[in-house]
């Protein structure tokens, strides 16, 4: 039954595009999505892993191998045809199974970082570098956190010189808008520099996983 799965886009069809908001636990991903769009909850299923032990008691249900997890996403309608979908990508290792799917076809990503816990964003940075997905690092300026110059953070994360590092306040719409504009400019610059390699992530690096 292939008729229902026409992959040819119809002209003028509603065309959603993915952007990812990644980063460590409690770094402000949902806050960032909420600052610029209405946040919607999305239920997905995660395989039970050793990380769930202690959180999910399996004693009475030995056959259970998945657990329901909630992701957040938001939509920004730019025109009736063009809508950006912002997906929050959970940074903890036990959610890595869903990264390939979330990243598939994404235009780019924001890696949200907290300078007090900078190493929490290493996995996200490594992932997007490996996938050649355009990304930037946004430093969420928590009150009371020490301030660093973006270049100091760039050195600490060993980022390529072209990767933008910006300061932001994930609660402020204007600040989040600036982050997304900077990301869009970076995506456009990457596309112009390297027409072959800078597109949306192609086939996943590992086997396709399902949410």
């Amino acid at each position: 039954m292939d008729s229902g799965h026409s992959s040819e886009p119809e002209p003028d069809v509603f065309a959603p595009h993915k952007l990812l908001i990644a980063g460590g636990f409690a770094v402000g991903k949902t806050t960032m999505v909420a600052a610029i769009s209405e946040v919607r909850p999305l239920l997905t299923e995660a395989p039970m892993t050793a990380a769930s032990v202690g959180h999910d008691d399996l004693q009475d249900v030995p056959a259970k191998t998945t657990t329901t997890v909630a992701l957040d996403y938001g939509r920004i309608t730019l025109s009736p045809q063009t809508v950006l979908y912002l997906f929050g990508v959970p940074g903890q290792e036990r959610f890595w199974f869903m990264w390939d799917e979330l990243a598939y076809g994404a235009l780019g990503a924001v890696v949200l970082a907290d300078v007090r816990r900078l190493d929490d964003c290493f996995p996200s940075v490594n992932y997007f570098e490996t996938r050649k997905l355009p990304f930037l690092v946004a430093l969420n300026c928590f009150e009371g956190a020490p301030r660093y110059e973006p270049d100091e953070v760039r050195d600490a994360l060993d980022l390529d010189p072209g990767v933008p590092v910006v300061l932001c306040d994930a609660r402020e719409r204007g600040s989040v808008k600036h982050v997304l504009i900077t990301l869009a400019e970076h995506i456009a610059a990457r596309a112009a520099d390297d027409p072959a390699g800078a597109g949306p992530a192609a086939a996943p690096a590992t086997a396709m996983t399902r949410l």
């Binding site: 008729s3 799965h5 069809v13 509603f14 993915k18 999305l42 979908y85 456009a188 399902r210």
Partner: protein, 130 residues
């Protein structure tokens, strides 16, 4: 036995649905047509889907809710969010409706190719105008 205070539900909203997710698919966890729709794949109800809704015994309330949401083109993520069903369950139900000809996929996946200059310009201008 734990007493439920008057006016309060014994079930907290955060605890999620009482029915296990795959009960609404009859226990099936794989889409019947073997296709895995992307989160932002776009689907729309066909005239057949809109016309016969409500009557067919092969359609559950969840099937009907999906058709209702897909009167306008919509994404898998929006259907999952709107029905409060897990994405995996929505994929199984959508595959049923696609095989019945009630739903069609108008855009399977985001473009693999380079985003066009026009698209990037539109996104940039759109963000600046927010």
């Amino acid at each position: 036995m734990i007493a439920v205070p008057p006016g309060q539900s014994w079930r907290r909203r955060e605890s999620g649905p009482v029915v296990r997710p795959y009960a609404v698919t009859g226990g099936r966890t794989e889409p019947a047509d073997g296709q895995v729709l992307d989160l932002i794949a776009v689907v729309v109800a066909t005239s057949k889907g809109v016309g016969a809704s409500g009557e067919s015994p092969r359609r559950s309330p969840e099937h009907r809710k999906i058709i209702e949401m897909a009167h306008q083109p919509t994404t898998v993520a929006d259907i999952a969010s709107g029905t409060r069903l897990p994405v995996g369950v929505v994929r199984v139900l959508l595959a049923d409706l696609i095989m019945l000809g009630a739903i069609k996929v108008v855009r399977q996946r985001p473009a693999r190719e380079m985003p066009s200059d026009d698209l990037l310009r539109e996104i940039l201008n759109g963000l600046r105008a927010l």
